[in-house]
């Protein structure tokens, strides 16, 4: 084993242990997913020849290219996922802002005076008063 393998394998093994413990505790698929990632990482670091064999089977050629492609795919997928999460979070923030706006609705001094009472805190979609 070279120095890099000595340095990274214990770290990744620790992460495997943490994810395993989290999975046993919570039974959430995300822990299994991360566990798999760390184990694949350990495998590829300890047995670099495996990456070359898989790359050869896939017609990519070099093991390093396989790792690079996989990294690009995961990064793109991760960004896509994070963008979606951000979008959903933004909708929640807007909904909160909307509720706050409803609560603080202020009668203006406009020329047309209406007799309606403030609608108070209503849920989205308006609805009848």
């Amino acid at each position: 084993m070279n120095l890099f393998q000595w340095l990274t394998t214990p770290v990744l093994s620790g992460l495997v242990a943490l994810e395993l413990r989290a999975y046993i505790k919570n039974r959430q698929a995300v822990h299994l997913f991360r566990l798999t990632i760390w184990m694949v990482g350990i495998g590829l670091i300890l047995l670099p020849g495996v990456a070359s064999i898989i790359a050869d089977l896939l017609g990519i050629g070099r093991g390093t290219d396989l790792v690079l492609y996989a990294f690009m795919l995961f990064t793109t997928g991760g960004l896509f996922y994070l963008y979606g999460r951000n979008l959903l979070l933004q909708r929640d923030v807007v909904e909160l802002a909307r509720r706050d706006a409803f609560r603080g609705a202020t009668r203006g001094e406009g020329t047309t005076r209406q007799q309606e009472e403030p609608p108070g805190d209503r849920t989205a979609n308006g609805g009848d008063p």
Binding site: Y83, G84, L87, L88, Q90, R91, V93, V94, A97, R98, D100, A101, F102, G104, A105, T106, R107, G108, E109, G110, T111, T112, R113, Q114, E116, P119, R122, A124, N125, G126, G127, D128, P129
Partner: protein, 229 residues
């Protein structure tokens, strides 16, 4: 001021305003006689205070959420007040209140659900060529995606019937909401009609308006909105 052919029914005008302290008062005064709801979208200037002087109701988002979000807030509020027709109107004075009676009539006599203002059927004052080209491109895009044959896709001057306002749900908080509304009109089979309107461009309105690069951003937002429903 209200023109002849005075519309009946409970009409509310919803105005989304962001940093419009210098212009909102004039816009609201031009709408005297109409019931107005201003949604201050987290402005850091005096928009809220100025709007309180001339609007019927003023709401304030604690943070800037975007024009689409502000319009939906105003529409929700108007619905809760029992609005029969809801007008969306720009805060910056681009639109001409004289167009309102003609815009309102088809909704108030229940001949359609939505009336969309069209500057290309009406008149534009001082519209730059680049803006014209950009809007023409948006028309082509909308015809491809929504399959609505309309002449102006990003006009903020619209009238929604109560039914349409309850059916349409704006989820695009920012500029893509204009395309989203059209998508929902098509998807929900709402009847619509275009009405010629006058749009006046000034240096200030152009500074706040959309740029060519926004077209790409809006397309991306629409695509993302379709993926993450």
């Amino acid at each position: 001021m209200r023109e002849t052919g005075k519309p009946t029914g409970d009409v509310w005008i919803v105005i989304a305003a962001y940093q419009e302290a210098s212009r909102i008062s004039e816009t609201l005064r031009s709408l005297a006689g109409y019931k107005t709801i201003v949604v201050d979208d987290g402005s850091r200037d005096q928009t809220f205070q100025v709007a309180c002087r001339d609007a019927t109701w003023v709401l304030r988002h604690p943070i800037n959420c975007g024009q689409g979000a502000a319009l939906q807030t105003g529409i929700d509020f108007a619905l809760s007040l029992g609005a029969e027709a809801i007008v969306t109107f720009d805060a910056d004075g681009q639109h001409d209140p004289a167009d309102l009676p003609a815009m309102l009539q088809p909704v108030l006599d229940a001949s359609c659900d939505v009336v969309l203002g069209s500057r290309f059927q009406g008149t534009t004052i001082d519209m730059p060529l680049a803006r014209r080209c950009l809007l023409r491109l948006a028309i082509v895009f909308t015809r491809l995606t929504s399959r609505l044959r309309i002449s102006d896709t990003h006009n903020g001057f619209r009238v929604l019937s109560r039914n349409a306002a309850k059916t349409i749900r704006i989820r695009q908080p920012r500029m893509a909401h204009a395309s989203e509304i059209l998508d929902q009109i098509a998807a929900n089979g709402l009847s619509y009609r275009e009405c010629p309107v006058k749009i006046r461009y000034t240096i200030e309105t152009l500074a706040k308006g959309q740029r060519a690069s926004d077209a790409v951003r809006i397309s991306g937002q629409l695509l993302a909105g379709r993926i993450w429903k």
